[in-house]
Amino acid sequence: MQLSDTLLEDRPEQTFFEDPALDRAFGVVMALATEVYVLRDRARALERKLEAAGVIEPGGLDAEPGDEERAADAGDREAFVEGLMISLLGKQQAKGAS
């Protein structure tokens, strides 16, 4: 079953904000928040299993990462931020008509 199967073409969703764009955008925010929570839950479950198997110490991932580890992730962080923020610039990324 696709989520789109549940969309009713002739019944527009209720709106509560002055700008209906906010109604829709907040829906995206809550959907993302749900995904974030699902990921948190999974990561925690994974840590518990790794601890139980003796692969990591209890709280083994909680300590501050060393400079070397942070430096190793710097490129990933930068790419993540750019992907998140690039839309704010309001520029075309593929040449359009004007």
């Binding site: 079953m1 989520l3 209720q14 907040f26 959907a31 839950d41 479950a45």
Partner: protein, 349 residues
């Protein structure tokens, strides 16, 4: 979707709903009280409350969350409907051998088909798995009670049992039997008939009754205002959270039918949402009906049930507020709640 992700997402939605119940609603009430205090005259009607609140940003978020957390719960990526749909083969096999009495040709009333009640896509009746979807959803309908949601049904049957015994009980709009089972245990020697329009719900009810070994109950697919029982077949007719789903005309027919199937001196006991204290609570409740796809909440709240029952020959009519859990509605507990009400009456001896 895997089970763990489903549960994590549903837990997140429930936690969000609980925050709405315990933090956002009391804050909205405070906002209202401040605005009402500053108004030239205190609001007396829901429309006057609306005029004060509808422009408030907090009210907009309150409303948005009330509608959309429920939408996500049922129809989101981790919703109840897609979750059960992915498990269709196993679940439908479970229901194959139930002894529910189904009525495949039964006409579904217009009001029942027109709106998907409480935002359950397709309603609680159009898909074979709807009983499961509804059962899972009902576990978190009232976030304050969490796992103790069952308490509410038992508190109701305790109250009914305290008023006297019963030998033959009819549970109208039994759903998947959550309201029926407490009657079976509170009245262990009674014969219990459980009826509902939804085939998928009565199938699950019968399946659960078999599993639990409740021998004194029968689940049948039937319309509550058009049953096939003989006149005077019951000494207790009950319903839980059903009346508000019917339009006023059908509610009248349901009471007429209850009067017909009750033996002289028999009694009725219904648990629903009816007595509302003040214009703010009324405004909130009517809004809930709109936002949650429960279009007949408001018409019910505006009916004169006492007059309607009197006209049908009922006596000893009682309409009393009901506490669905310990500590609710007390001072210092400002959380959102339904206007739970018990409606009881007796048929003339």
């Amino acid at each position: 979707m895997d089970d763990r992700s489903f549960v994590a997402a549903q837990d997140f939605l429930l936690a969000s709903k609980t925050y709405w119940t315990k933090r956002i609603y009391p804050e909205l009430k405070k906002t209202y009280e401040t605005a009402a205090g500053a108004a030239p005259a205190p609001p007396e009607t829901p429309a006057e409350v609306a005029a004060l609140l509808e422009g408030e940003v907090l009210y907009r978020y309150f409303s948005w969350l009330e509608r959309h957390l429920q939408r996500f719960k049922y129809a989101g990526r981790y919703g109840l409907v897609p979750y059960h749909d992915e498990r269709r083969a196993a679940l439908s096999a479970e229901l194959r051998d139930t002894d529910a009495e189904l009525a495949p040709g039964l006409e579904m009333p217009n009001y029942y088909q027109r709106v998907d009640i409480h935002q359950h896509p397709g309603g609680v009746w159009s898909d074979e798995l709807d009983g499961y979807v509804y059962e899972r959803g009902a576990r978190s309908t009232t976030p304050l009670m969490g796992a103790a949601h069952g308490d509410l049904h038992h508190r109701f049957t305790d109250l009914v049992a305290a008023r006297g015994g019963a030998k033959d009980i009819l549970d109208m709009g039994c759903g998947f039997g959550k309201s029926t089972h407490p009657f079976c245990t509170s009245f262990p020697t009674a014969r219990v008939e459980a009826i509902d329009l939804s085939g998928p719900c009565v199938s699950l009810g019968a399946h659960d009754a078999q599993t639990k070994g409740s021998g004194n109950v029968r689940f049948r697919q039937m319309n509550a205002y058009e049953t096939d029982y003989d006149d005077g077949s019951f000494d207790l007719v009950t319903s839980t959270m059903v009346i508000h789903e019917l339009p006023p005309r059908e509610i009248e027919r349901m009471f007429t039918e209850a009067a017909r199937v009750l033996a002289p001196g028999g009694r009725m006991a219904h648990l629903d949402f009816y007595t509302i204290d003040g214009p703010f609570a009324r405004f909130i409740h009517y809004g809930h009906g709109r936002r949650n796809n429960e279009p007949f909440m408001q018409p019910l709240a505006e009916m004169d049930l006492h007059a309607s029952l009197t006209e049908k020959g009922f006596t000893n009519i009682e309409v009393i507020p009901f506490k669905e859990a310990e500590g609710v509605g007390e001072s210092g507990n400002d959380a959102w709640r339904f206007p739970w009400t018990v409606i009881m009456a007796e048929k003339m001896p």
